[in-house]
């Protein structure tokens, strides 16, 4: 396992000199990082939801071991893509920036004792765009969830299909659709959690194919980007356009959930869908392990 990933997962303590303060991009409030983590990355001053790191969200939701799958898949450069920089350079930069190997983390663990397959996308990696590795990890997640007969939850955050992988990226919409359908046709429960932002080829494929679709409060969700629409119609869109609340009003999603309530909501939904309210042991029967610091300080 690479060192950065072990740091990410809290196996190696990160440097003491790490900046402990950050500024809220909306209200400018200075926020103490450990406190921000404890508040699940919600600004205590203005209530802004920070976009969460994939592993922070995994830790927020999972209360057991989390066994990652597909983590060793390496992103190819099938088109030999170059624009201002090369695609491999962009990937290196994003790996550095996000401490992730790709735009989604997939794996198995338990939420409220329910064993689940969980995928969490991360906007910090190429805008959460879906390329071949993201598509492959999602397909693997559905396939393995089907084999294990456990529900599948995917938290989306994506600008759509990844342009740098061209049509191979677009085809991941078909691949994830087929995997989701095969999983669901076997009678398993698929729950989609739309987080900020969820647009394009991801919203138009597996994100909107779930049995139940919940959205995190205030998240931007839509098909076309807001700028594209504004350019097409040549007028400014209202502020609430494409928000989770807007979609709820239009009937496109099942519920809007505040981030601090998300885990409890998922547990209730799993309870309805899977039916067994009794807490189950973790997949390995082991106690919870490998927590990140940020989560240790977070309220349960």
């Amino acid at each position: 396992m690479p060192e950065w990933l072990r740091i990410r997962r809290g196996e190696i303590p990160s440097g003491e000199d790490a900046a402990q303060w950050t500024k809220c991009p909306k209200c400018g409030e200075m926020l103490y990082r450990p406190e921000l983590a404890a508040s699940l990355y919600v600004c205590k001053n203005c209530g802004l939801y920070f976009r969460m790191h994939a592993f922070d969200r995994v830790n927020m939701l999972i209360d057991s071991d989390f066994v990652e799958i597909g983590g060793d898949l390496v992103t190819p450069d099938p088109l030999g893509w170059v624009d201002k920089t090369s695609y491999p350079q962009k990937l290196d930069r994003d790996r550095e920036k996000s401490s992730l190997s790709e735009g989604i983390v997939c794996g198995f663990g338990a939420i409220g004792g329910f064993p689940v397959a969980l995928g969490v996308m991360d906007f910090n990696f190429r805008g959460g765009t879906m390329g071949t590795v993201v598509g492959e990890r999602i397909a693997l997640l559905f396939e393995q969830a089907r084999a294990r007969k456990v529900p599948c939850i995917i938290c989306t955050a994506s600008g759509g299909a990844r342009m740098e992988e061209g049509m191979l990226a677009l085809m991941q919409m078909a691949k994830t659709t087929l995997a989701a359908r095969r999983f669901m046709n076997d009678g398993h429960f698929y729950l989609s959690v739309l987080t900020d932002p969820t647009t394009g080829g991801v919203s138009a494929s597996f994100a909107f194919q779930a049995d139940v679709i919940v959205a995190e409060a205030k998240a931007n969700i839509g098909f076309a980007g807001k700028r594209v629409i504004e350019q097409t119609i040549r007028q400014k869109l209202p502020d609430n356009f494409q928000t989770a609340e807007f979609l709820l009003e239009k009937g496109a999603i099942d519920m809007v959930v505040k981030r601090p309530d998300l885990r409890a909501t998922l547990i209730r939904l799993l309870d309805y869908a899977v039916g067994d309210p009794a807490p189950r042991p973790g997949r390995n029967g082991k106690a919870a392990a490998v927590k990140r610091e940020s989560h240790e300080e977070a309220p349960a």
């Binding site: 099938p78 138009a204 009937g251």
Partner: protein, 314 residues
């Protein structure tokens, strides 16, 4: 401005001159055959020069050529067609034409994206960009095809799904996602042909198919060249550069294993022999259905799964 239309102008003039000379030589006792032969040679040379090796951007322009055969031309060439309308909820989106048909005597369900021919028709059809209702009509009728055991034949030609306010309000994402899910499940052969522009998710929504065909000069892309250029360089006018990078030609996509078959176009593009091109497409579609029909439903769905499952597998 369409770069193919521009380059075609000289050729068309030359064509006219040759025709005039022929007429003239038939009326007059003068022998013009040498002049005609010379002009014809020149014509062929220019034709080779223009169409011999087209750049990706020229292919995009060919795919958007105003005279290129569009969905309704293919529908008109069917033995029989009865249109079925509407999504049963909101309206009939005429950016998609769908209905029962007979193709070489075979009962099928046809779905075609329709850009429209004259300006009024184009506006009415939203230039082939379907709204959620269009995709919901597709979903409804593909399910019907599954119910009746009819093979599904789709013709893809769109710059993309409609990005308007109404489409967002009525959940464009959900409409496309559900269309994709329906094609994933439908227990009958599905054959898709990209006849012009295959614009991103709005095109894929009709192309999750057992057999995907592309006309030689059609294009199929993750993003429009203009959109990609705007994102990459903040300059939509660099669309030609973006087109080259996106690998959107039929050759590229055949190489990537994303499409199954390429149908050659006459020199100068499909519109130079629309009926011939359409006939070759219909033959290819029919052959594909014939092959696919030999599979059991189970094998068909397994094959469909495997076909897309391997794309991008490392």
């Amino acid at each position: 401005m369409n770069v193919i239309v521009e380059r075609e102008k000289g050729l068309l003039q030359l064509e006219q001159r040759i025709a005039d000379l022929r007429k003239h030589s038939a009326d007059q006792p003068v022998d013009l055959s040498n002049e005609i032969t010379a002009l014809e040679e020149k014509y062929a040379e220019i034709q080779r020069e223009i169409f011999g090796s087209m750049s990706p951007w020229q292919r995009v322009n060919m795919a958007r050529h105003p005279k290129r055969p569009i969905g309704s031309d293919y529908i008109a060439a069917l033995d029989q067609f009865d249109e079925l309308h509407g999504d049963r909820h909101f309206r009939d989106d005429v950016a998609v034409i769908a209905g029962f048909a007979k193709l070489k005597g075979r009962r099928v369900l046809v779905v075609a994206q329709e850009k429209g021919r004259d300006f009024k028709d184009k506006v009415r059809r939203n230039f082939g960009s379907a709204s959620p209702e269009g995709y919901r009509k597709v979903t409804r009728l593909v399910k019907l095809a599954g119910h009746l055991g009819l093979p599904v034949v789709t013709f893809v030609d769109t710059s993309g799904a409609d990005p308007g306010i109404g489409s967002e309000e009525r959940a464009q994402s959900e409409a496309i996602a559900t269309a994709l899910a329906t094609f994933a499940d439908v227990p009958v052969p599905v054959v898709a042909t990209v006849i012009g522009e295959g614009g991103s998710g709005g095109a894929l929504a009709l192309a999750l198919a057992d057999h995907v065909i592309m006309l030689q000069h059609s294009v199929y892309s993750v993003a429009s060249p203009e959109g990609a250029a705007a994102i990459l360089w903040g300059d939509a006018s660099k669309a030609d550069e973006a087109a080259a990078r996106l690998r959107l030609t039929s050759d590229d996509l055949r190489e990537f294993g994303i499409i199954d078959e390429v149908i050659a176009e006459p020199i100068g593009g499909a519109h130079r022999d629309a009926q011939g091109t359409i006939a070759s497409v219909m033959t290819a579609v029919d052959t594909a259905i014939e092959t696919l029909k030999r599979s059991t439903v189970h094998a068909l769905l397994d094959r469909r799964y495997a076909k897309f499952r391997r794309i991008g597998t490392l």
